[in-house]
């Protein structure tokens, strides 16, 4: 009876001891919790760090002196058990003591840590202003190797800064349309050159400047100009190409690049004359276009010509139209009716094509919205797959770790059980021997 009671007593001691051992194994804990500083200013970054059980999630919350939440986070401890969470304090953060709470989970006990938010020290007084420097004057000149070029050629701009310094000077290039660009050029012993190729015809101007240094005041050169002459392309259109005597012919000419408010001469000739007869001079509009009306007076083939005599910026040019056949008979009423009918038919066709185009645009818009919806769904599915894959990998890793732990614990359990069994047997035998 006593022997049996002793055995049960020994067994109870063993089981209770090992239950305590189990609790100490599986309960996660935060073993340390710190902040990178003990005092912070408003707007400063706070870094919370600590150590917990390896791979354990740690829930973090920070409250200000009034108990208001200023930060909350969940971070996972690394393989070495370390974890970190950072945030920036508000620029209006309350002064006083802040409390950091960190709870490892599941089943862990919360740990707290405090830090202070304090007022900033007053700013240092501004440094005294430096004494005004004593500077010398400087000067600069620039010249061009040519004052007039044809578009496509280059011009070399040479400059000289006095005193002869190795500094960077700025060359301002003003375009014919009024816009400016600036180039930085390195001067060697005060001398510098720059090769420039204009891309539009007109008057270009150049001016160099230097902002100075501690020893010399800055300076700038006088402005020099360059005329870049460009070629002009003319086109002439006439309508109709067949007409009758005393009907109106429309003559239309344009210039490229567009010459604005320039005088173009329009003239004509026929297959019955050899000379060109001037119709008149017409000024181009802001779009570089001129137009005029002409009434032929005889049956013949007419040709028309537009001429630009050139100026200091644009070179001369001319263009000739195709022949216009002027016949004696005018169009009949039936011809006009037929032409109107054709015009109506063309208008109807145009309306049909516009309706088809609108329907196609609507279809494209609908398909685009469907594509956007499908892309959104695809993005959600991809992120879900990615999340599941990472969860699977993590679970496999933990499973392997758990298996190794179980093996180790099993071996330990058997060894401890063997030792405790021998101990219990020894105690029982000793008790019997004492009796």
């Amino acid at each position: 009876m006593r022997k049996s009671g002793l055995n049960w007593y020994a067994l109870l001691v063993v089981v209770l001891t090992l239950l305590l051992l189990q609790i100490s194994i599986v309960t996660p804990v935060v073993t340390s919790l710190t902040t990178d500083k003990s005092e912070y200013l408003r707007g400063e970054a706070v870094t919370i760090s600590g150590t917990a059980s390896a791979g354990e999630w740690v829930a973090i919350q920070v409250k200000d002196p009034n108990g208001v939440n200023v930060w909350i986070d969940s971070v996972k401890a690394g393989s070495d058990g370390s974890f970190t969470s950072s945030f920036r304090l508000s620029s209006t953060a309350t002064y006083g003591t802040y409390t950091v709470y960190a709870t490892p989970g599941p089943g862990g006990q919360p740990v707290t840590k405090t830090f202070q938010v304090v007022t900033a020290p007053p700013p240092p007084p501004p440094p005294p202003p430096p004494p005004p420097p004593v500077k010398k004057s400087s000067s600069m000149t620039i010249t061009l190797d040519k004052t007039s070029i044809t578009l496509g050629e280059s011009v070399t701009i040479s400059g000289l800064l006095t005193p002869a310094l190795n500094v960077t000077v700025d060359l301002e290039i003003k375009c014919p349309n009024g816009t400016s660009v600036s180039k930085s050029i390195l001067a060697s012993k005060g001398a510098f050159t720059y090769v420039f190729k204009p891309d539009v015809a007109g008057v270009w101007s150049f001016k160099a400047s230097w902002k100075g240094n501690d020893e010399y005041y800055g300076c700038e050169s006088s402005t020099v100009t360059l005329i870049a002459r460009g070629a002009v392309s003319l086109r002439i259109f006439v309508a109709p190409l067949i007409t009758s005597v005393r009907s109106i012919i429309i003559i239309y000419a344009d210039t490229s690049p567009a010459l604005v408010d320039r005088s173009l001469v329009i003239s004509y000739t026929t297959n019955k004359t050899v000379n060109w007869i001037t119709i008149g001079s017409f000024n181009t509009g802001s779009d570089g276009i001129v137009a005029c009306l002409f009434t032929p007076t005889e049956v013949a083939e007419y040709k028309f010509k537009v001429e630009w005599i050139g100026d200091s910026i644009f070179m001369p040019a001319s263009a000739t139209s195709p022949g216009v056949l002027v016949i004696a008979e005018s169009l009949t009423a039936q011809d006009i009716v037929n032409a109107l009918n054709q015009l109506k038919a063309l208008q109807k066709l145009l309306e049909e094509k516009e309706a088809e185009l609108k329907a196609s645009r609507d279809t494209i818009s609908m398909l685009n919205s469907q594509i956007a919806g499908l892309q959104h769904d695809l993005s959600n599915a991809q992120s879900r797959i990615s999340s599941l894959e990472s969860q699977l990998a993590e679970t496999q890793s933990r499973l392997a770790e758990a298996e190794s732990r179980v093996m180790l614990i099993g071996i330990l359990a058997l060894i401890v059980g063997l030792l405790i069994g021998i101990l219990v047997a020894y105690l029982i035998l000793k008790r019997r021997g004492a009796k």
Binding site: V14, L19, G107, V406, G417, L418, G421
Partner: protein
């Protein structure tokens, strides 16, 4: 006979202790494999405007909703902060956190409390307002799940989910 009794005593004690250790080992296996799991899972997070339409960007001052689908895992888990096999409903706290910059500045916080039984889903939709005078750029919405507020002993109950939303 006394010699045989001694041998029997040693044998029985050793077998009982080894058996107790193996029983304990089986308990440990259950707790080690199950306690690494999270009881909840964030199934999806969608940012919506005031009319409930999904959006991928927002403007300063705009009020947005964080549409969260949360699920209690279908298998009943032994979860250490309760210390029993849980077949009933478990409480949760979902927090939507709006931050900007690195390190992050807290620009908004919103939460929802509820409870779910195994296999159930819930769809809390906490609201957040983008600060009207805040900076423009990429804001981060983090969905955090706890068993309670960490200051009250709450622990992480689901893996956090991050969404970046450009703000103009």
């Amino acid at each position: 006979m006394p010699k045989n009794n001694n041998k029997r005593t040693i044998l029985i004690s050793t077998l009982l202790c080894c058996g107790a250790m193996l029983l304990l080992l089986l308990t440990l296996i259950g707790s080690v494999s199950a306690s690494d799991q999270m009881p909840f899972r964030i199934v999806s997070v969608t940012i919506r405007d005031e009319a409930g339409n999904p959006i991928s960007q927002a403007t300063r001052g705009q009020f947005i909703f964080v549409d969260i689908v949360i699920e209690k895992e279908a298998v009943p888990y032994y979860y250490d902060y309760y210390y029993y096999y849980d077949y009933g409903a478990q409480p949760f706290l979902v927090v939507a956190r709006l931050t900007y910059g690195t390190p992050p500045s807290l620009m908004g916080l919103s939460g929802y409390r509820g409870s779910l039984a195994a296999g159930e889903q819930a769809e809390p939709t906490p609201g957040l307002q983008i600060p009207p005078t805040g900076p423009s750029g990429n804001y981060v919405i983090t969905v955090l799940t706890y068993s309670n507020w960490p200051a009250a002993g709450g622990v992480t109950a689901a893996e956090p989910v991050l969404i970046v939303i450009p703000v103009t």
